[in-house]
């Protein structure tokens, strides 16, 4: 189990990226949602031993990550949000190297493992090509492959689906789902569906703080019966905005759908079926973040 306790991090430029973050993550898929700059990557890097917090602690199965980074790294699979490749190197060579680094000593075992991953990430045909020539999505899949090398007990993937086409995204979902139940997987994303589809638990982060955490379904239920919608001409939106607090607006076929939260429906509004996105918007709005995109 991963325990994060009162973690704080302020960068040298004064940005407070983590603000008293506490979180407990059990095995299973954990989704981390949050706007740009929320501190998701900072949090994940800290867990992945790539930086240290100013205060607070991260422990994984009782191992203090800051004190014994080496111990954690042995059980870690990590996909950074942004990464590059060695110029003129093939995925085969690179994955083999990562496997050695991760302690996979047996040569045949390593070969098998790397080949499996190449197939699973659909990179088999390009396994000997220079990675310099890879497209963004191919590179991303290579990143996923390396994160899964070994028997990671903690997998941290930072926006793993960014840049993947729908097929590959699905392939990734399946791959991730197959990892095993006793593995802690933390995944950050901006795509709410990813979380909805995959995660058993989730948290929403903004401005360095955890705003909300729980099971997606349970969070959605909390909005049940409190969310209302109306579809109006775009010109009328400003009028509504003057009268009440709008949660979201969305264009639908030339008109605009407006959603609001309230215990009673405003005049002309009909009940809406909440989804995770609504939860996300509602949480951010409650935290004072601007979510009105018009």
């Amino acid at each position: 189990m991963l325990k994060i306790n009162a973690l704080n991090k302020t960068y040298a430029n004064g940005v407070q990226a983590l603000n008293d973050v506490s979180l407990e993550v059990d095995s299973g898929m954990f989704g981390l949602l949050g706007p740009n700059g929320a501190g998701k990557s900072s949090l994940m890097r800290t867990i992945a031993t790539l930086q240290t917090g100013d205060s607070g602690s991260v422990t994984f199965n009782g191992v203090d990550v800051a004190r014994q980074p080496e111990q954690l790294r042995r059980k870690l699979g990590y996909l950074p949000q942004e990464f590059g490749v060695y110029p003129r190197m093939s995925p085969l060579t690179f994955l083999d190297h990562i496997a050695v680094m991760k302690g996979v000593a047996d040569r045949a075992e390593r070969k098998h493992l790397v080949e499996q991953l190449l197939v699973q990430t659909n990179l088999w045909d390009v396994r000997k090509k220079s990675m310099t020539t890879f497209s963004g999505g191919m590179k991303q899949r290579m990143g996923i492959a390396q994160a899964l090398i070994g028997n990671p007990e903690l997998v941290i993937v930072d926006e793993p689906t960014a840049g993947l086409d729908p097929v590959e995204r699905r392939r990734f979902h399946n791959l991730l789902a197959s990892i095993g139940d006793d593995v802690v997987v933390i995944l950050s994303t901006h795509i709410v569906e990813d979380v909805a589809d995959l995660c058993t638990r989730m948290a929403i982060m903004a401005a360095g703080s955890i705003l909300l955490s729980g099971e997606p379904q349970q969070l959605i239920t909390q909005l049940q019966g409190r969310l209302w919608r109306v579809v109006v001409a775009s010109t009328e939106v400003d009028g509504i905005r003057g009268e009440m607090d709008i949660l979201t607006t969305r264009r639908i076929a030339g008109k605009t759908e407006v959603k609001v939260i309230g215990n009673t429906p405003p005049v002309g509004f009909e009940p809406a079926q909440p989804n995770l996105e609504d939860v996300y918007f509602a949480t951010l709005r409650d935290a004072g973040e601007s979510v009105d995109v018009d």
Partner: protein
């Protein structure tokens, strides 16, 4: 474009690169000018510190090294966008490619010039510094600075910026630009080496920096001219500047034409067209993998990481480019390896190794500095760091991998040098390949410090956290290490390098192994500390700041780290203490400054005794026991002293060599009243003053041994003494192992500026010509020859040789060999003692035994030595006087020094010069023959006749030996080769004048100045015999010998010699003799224009000759003098192809015509097709511009 320019300027202003370079250049320039101990090679210490010439020359230097700064700045300006992936943003902003390029270029260029201007400011400010020696500071003038900016800095930086900007823009790679720059420099050196040095115009053109053109004009400038004059911007210099600037413009135009905004660096891309073999996808089978973490894991990780890092190197094109240039670089070094009067030396491995050390060091250094940055930051730059850093490897794996990768590069370069060396030897037909020697030297002896440097470079890069800062920091560290010794910080305990180890075929690496191993172990321990620190401070994850990384140290510090660190520190400290014990306790650590202090003190204390009358040594009986393996020598003996003066002597000063331990030193009837160990000075006072004719006995017992090893500056501060007593090839002389009488003028500081520092009066190198007080003292600083006998023993496998003849049998006992040598007539007290495992080649000539003692492998040039000896013996005994000995011996000694020296019947001759010269080219001058003849001539000019110890004395010894050798050479090799030799002499003389430290003197007053007594001496004597005849000169010399051979004083002076020449010369030549010997005379002849007319069957050549004559003063300031002299004029046909370029064909007509100052109209007629006309075509006179004496004719 202006916007881009402004943007670029703002960027550069804030860029650390510009700032760091400017500060570095400023400081460097400031030091060069402001500190007398740091000077640029090629700048004479006799010039004013702020001499106009020096200011310009310094800017040449800065603009050449500044080229690399310029490359960095401008190529960064153009490649930055790719490196930081901001290119996309830029290309869509609507700037035109041209505007973008020019804006970026000029933005970078201005700052590249700025860096050099920083250097200029450094020079300028330092030249105003109050602490400078006022004697060496001329009046301030801004002109040289402006001149340097306009003629040197701006053109050089412009073309180099433009050229490499182009390269960087088109390849999108900074590395390519750097390699281009290195290649450019190397190519330049190589081309410069390949072009015949006589092709002055061509050389001036192809030197991109214009330095050649600049030097051509100022080459023969004297101190006076260099202080105030600037080379006019015309002729070659102007053309060169314009040409290279234009090339820069062309490069820019080309870039504008070819450059496209695109992200595809297509220029260097290779397309791999491997057949697409489709391997079937393996089926998905679940199989669990085992992760093993044990003691072997880091090694596995290291192995994998090293192969990844190496593949990054050997898969890159630049690496092969570097290897290629390295190859050219060493090859160039081999080509330039020790030429001796133009003749190549055999490519013996020692010589090639030396050349590799010389030409390669800087190259490897640059590679290490650059690649350390590339390799250490490779993961970050490629952005794989975040992936890798989260995998479970200890930091040390990455650190070690980076170090190994650099080592691999360095080893490749070093082994490449070996391969190149072997190929070079094979090509030259030299097949004695010493591969173990190559490996030892390259990978350990010479190469060891490179490997250590790699660790330092990696450490600094880790610490710096940014590759550019790291590179600059590493350069700075290296610079400091280079400068420290000249600031008198000379101890090997902090200089981060292994001691220099000379290799000699005779003595191998000799006793240098011990300090080499000690210092290597010491610095290796230090490197281990660095590596551990690098491990602790390694940049992992997002820990950019050093402070953050330091905070991580406690986490990273494990007990194993602690153990290793303790071990490394203890080893470092332990070996360091042992080194300290050796260098500072067993031996004395002394710096060059301290040495000067001692010299100054010696002079201040004892100079007063210089002219004290002293007894003469009439006989010496000595015992010298040499233990080569222990490097120990015991010297005992007695000398009979007699007061040869007509006054009483009450005190006598005795000098012993500072390095020798004096066990006992006594003079009968005298007490030692003063003793200074540091200078080896002993003052004895006679109980009863020594009456005229009275005698005493001096006896000594001294030990010269070497305990442990001395500091790395030993070779420099010992003046060569540390390599005298060695395991094989010992060569010592009496001044080192026996006491000598009187003050030693040779121990004085010669450099005027240094003398002022120590408040010493201006040096008087020698007493005035004709000084009556020294007429009775010979050049050997004694007045009497000595009877000499020595019992000289050595180990059983060596032969020991001293002057004199072997008496009785060689006694062999107790693993020793004992030789007794005795001379049958008194000789000058100038004795050599040599011992080595020699092989002896013997011959005889007219009853004179000739023996060459040589290293068994060095059999190449024994024959020419013997032949030279015979020829010279014939000529000298016929023309001068009989040879006074019945034996002549040449002995080889190790290449720790490269000279030959003439002792009575004994000539020690360095391994580096005669024994390994390559005499296979029949056109080359034969240095073996020349040196042999010269040294043999000293048996006459030194051992038969020697001058009084005053001005001009070396004319009698050295100039006459040069003349004697010249005449034998001319007889053997013909006039053509002589001319070539004389041309070398002329060139050396004219070149050396500008480096004169005190004052140039006329030949007759020469004060032991080699460029005058050898170089000018040859020219003067050759001209003299050309005009008055060889017979007449030899007649004069015979008379001179008759008069002065074996006298006991008064000794002759150079004036006496000139008097003999005047006696045989006839009245018409008296003025010439005055000009040759008694004045500093320079001529300038040139054929101004020439017309050819065909008259009947004949060709008539009318030409005008510009002629002038100057007298120069001691500083080189010239005044016109009226010329009236008969000079050679000649017309030459077109040379046959078979002639070497230095040879002139036989003239069609050759006359001597009287020329006067100014224009002379001359007419010559020939009956064959003429080709060239010349005045003094063979350069017999000292011509300031020897090149323009010949002129090609335009035929009608």
């Amino acid at each position: 474009m202006l916007d881009v320019f402004k943007f670029e300027c703002r960027y550069q202003l804030r860029s650390p690169l510009f700032l760091v370079l400017s500060v570095a250049f400023f400081l460097f320039a400031f030091m060069l000018m402001g500190s007398e101990s740091v000077t640029l090679g090629g700048v004479s210490r006799s010039l004013n510190l702020n001499a106009a010439w020096t200011i310009v020359y310094t800017q040449f230097f800065f603009s050449i090294i500044g080229m690399f700064g310029a490359v960095a700045i401008v190529s960064q300006a153009i490649t930055r966008d790719y490196e930081f992936n901001t290119a996309e943003i830029f290309f869509t902003t609507g700037v035109s490619p041209r505007g973008f390029l020019l804006g970026r270029f000029f933005g970078g260029f201005v700052f590249a010039v700025g860096v050099c201007v920083a250097a200029m400011l450094g020079t300028l400010l330092a030249s105003l510094a109050p602490w400078l020696d006022p004697e060496r500071v001329g009046a301030f003038s801004i002109a040289p600075y402006l001149y340097a900016l306009a003629v040197v800095t701006v053109p050089n930086i412009f073309f180099s910026s433009a050229l490499f900007f182009t390269l960087a823009a088109l390849t999108r790679s900074m590395l390519a630009a750097f390699i281009g720059a290195v290649a450019f420099i190397v190519l330049n050196i190589i081309i410069g080496n390949l072009v015949d040095p006589e092709q002055v115009d061509l050389l001036a053109m192809i030197d991109p920096f214009g330095q050649s053109a600049f030097s051509d004009v100022s080459r023969y400038w004297t101190v006076f001219e260099r202080n105030i004059e600037l080379v006019p911007v015309s002729g070659n210099l102007l053309i060169n500047r314009v040409a290279w600037m234009s090339l820069g413009v062309l490069a820019l135009l080309f870039t504008i034409w070819r450059y496209r905004f695109s992200l595809d660096p297509s220029v260097l891309r290779r397309k791999s067209k491997r057949a697409r073999k489709t391997t079937p996808k393996p089926a998905l089978t679940a199989r669990s993998v085992e992760q093993v973490f044990n003691a072997v894991t880091p090694w596995r990780q290291l192995f994998s990481q090293v192969s990844i890092d190496l593949s990054g190197i050997y898969r890159s094109v630049p690496f092969y480019a570097i290897l290629g240039f390295a190859l050219l670089n060493v090859w160039g070094g081999f080509e330039g390896v020790g030429r001796f009067v133009g003749t190549p030396l055999l490519p013996v491995t020692s010589g090639l190794l030396r050349a590799i050390g010389g030409s390669y060091t800087f190259f490897i250094l640059l590679i290490v500095i650059y690649y350390a940055g590339e390799i250490v930051h490779r993961e970050r730059q490629a952005k794989v760091a975040e992936v890798l850093d989260a995998t479970p490897f200890p930091n040390v794996v990455m650190v070690a991998s980076k170090v190994f990768t650099l080592w691999f590069m360095v080893a490749c370069l070093l082994l490449l040098a070996m391969v190149a060396g072997i190929i070079y030897q094979a090509v030259q037909g030299y097949t004695h390949f010493e591969i173990p020697l190559y490996l030892q030297s390259l990978l350990f002896v010479q190469g060891g410090s490179f490997f250590m440097l790699c660790v330092l470079a990696v450490f600094i890069q880790v610490l710096a956290g940014n590759k550019y800062i790291g590179m600059v920091a590493m350069l700075a560290v290296f610079f400091v290490l280079q400068v420290l010794p000249s600031l008198d910080f000379q101890h090997g305990l902090y200089l981060f390098s292994t001691p220099p180890v000379p290799h000699s075929d005779m003595n191998g690496f000799g006793h240098f192994w011990q300090p080499l191993i000690a210092f290597t172990a010491y610095w290796s321990a230090f490197c281990l500390v660095l590596a551990i620190l690098a491990h602790l401070l390694f940049q992992r994850g997002v820990t950019d700041r050093l402070k953050q990384r330091i905070a991580l140290v406690p986490v990273r510090f494990t007990s194993l780290t602690g153990l290793m660190l303790t071990f490394a520190v203890v080893a470092f400290a332990g070996i360091g203490s042992w080194i300290f014990y050796n260098t500072n306790v067993l031996n004395t650590y002394i710096t060059t400054d301290e040495l000067e202090v001692q010299q100054a003190e010696y002079e201040k204390t004892y100079k007063v005794r210089e002219l004290d009358l002293r007894p003469e040594m009439l006989s010496v009986d000595s015992t010298v026991d040499l233990y080569p393996d222990e490097r120990r020598l015991e010297s005992k003996g007695t000398a009979e002293l007699v007061n040869t003066h007509d006054v009483e002597i009450s005190e006598v000063m005795v000098s012993t060599h500072p390095f020798i331990t004096v066990n006992t030193l006594a003079i009968s009837g005298a007490q030692r009243v003063e003793h200074r160990e540091i200078s080896g000075t002993h003052i004895f006072r006679f109980d009863q003053p020594l009456v005229p004719g009275g005698g005493a006995e001096m006896s000594w017992d001294m030990t010269w041994d070497h305990e442990g090893f001395a500091n790395v500056n030993e070779l420099a501060v010992s003046g060569g003494s540390s390599t005298r007593v060695v395991a094989n090839g010992t060569f010592v002389n009496n001044s080192e192992i026996m006491p000598s009488l009187g003050y030693n003028r040779g121990a004085e500081i010669g450099d005027p500026a240094t003398r002022r520092e120590y408040d010493l009066p201006p040096i008087q190198r020698l007493p005035e010509l004709g000084d009556p007080q020294t007429l009775n003292l010979s050049q050997f600083t004694v007045a009497r020859r000595t009877e000499f006998r020595t019992r000289f023993s050595t180990s059983a496998d060596q032969i020991a040789v001293a002057p004199g003849y072997l008496v009785g049998d060689v006694i062999e006992r107790d693993g020793r060999r004992i030789y007794t040598y005795e001379m049958d007539a008194p000789i000058w007290p100038f004795f050599s003692f040599l011992s080595a495992r020699y092989e002896v080649a013997s011959d005889a000539h007219n009853g004179i035994a000739i023996e060459v003692y040589h290293h068994p492998a060095h059999t190449f040039n024994i024959e020419p030595m013997i032949r030279g000896t015979k020829k010279a013996l014939d000529y000298f005994s016929r023309e001068f006087s009989p040879y006074q000995y019945r034996q002549f011996r040449i002995l080889e000694f190790p290449r720790y020094a490269s000279f030959a020296q003439a002792f009575p019947n004994t000539i020690p001759f360095s391994e580096a010069i005669g024994f390994v010269a390559d005499l296979t080219d029949p056109h080359a001058l034969d240095p073996v023959f020349y040196v042999t003849a010269h040294e043999l001539a000293h048996q006459w000019w030194a051992h038969q006749v020697v001058g009084a110890a005053q001005q001009g004395m070396t004319v009698i010894v050295e100039t006459l030996a040069q003349y004697s050798a010249l005449m034998v050479m001319e007889q053997e090799y013909g006039e053509d080769k002589m001319r070539r030799f004389l041309r070398y002499e002329l060139d050396s003389y004219l070149n050396a004048r500008g480096g004169e430290l005190i004052e140039e003197l006329p030949l007759v007053r020469v004060e032991n100045q080699p460029y005058i007594h050898y170089r000018k001496g040859s020219l003067v004597m050759y001209a003299l015999q050309d005009v008055i005849g060889e017979d007449q000169v030899n007649l004069a010399l015979r008379r001179f010998i008759e008069k002065y051979a074996y006298v006991n004083g008064p000794f002759p002076t150079a004036a006496d010699l000139v008097a003999e020449f005047r006696r045989v010369a006839g009245p018409e030549h008296q003025a010439l003799i005055t000009d040759l010997f008694e004045k500093i005379t320079l001529y300038d002849f040139s054929v101004a224009d020439a017309d050819v007319e065909k008259i009947d069957d004949e060709w008539q050549i009318s030409f005008s000759v510009d002629a002038s004559k100057f007298y120069a003063d001691g500083a080189g300031e010239e005044t016109d003098a009226p010329l009236n002299l008969t000079v050679d004029v000649a017309v030459f046909p077109k040379p046959q192809d078979t002639l070497e370029d230095y040879q002139l064909p036989a003239p069609l007509v050759f006359e001597r015509q009287t020329l006067v100052s100014g224009e002379n109209q001359l007419v010559l007629r020939v009956n064959e097709l003429p080709h060239r006309v010349g005045v003094d075509p063979y350069n017999k006179l000292i011509d300031r511009n020897p090149e323009n004496n010949l002129r090609l004719l335009d035929l009608p």
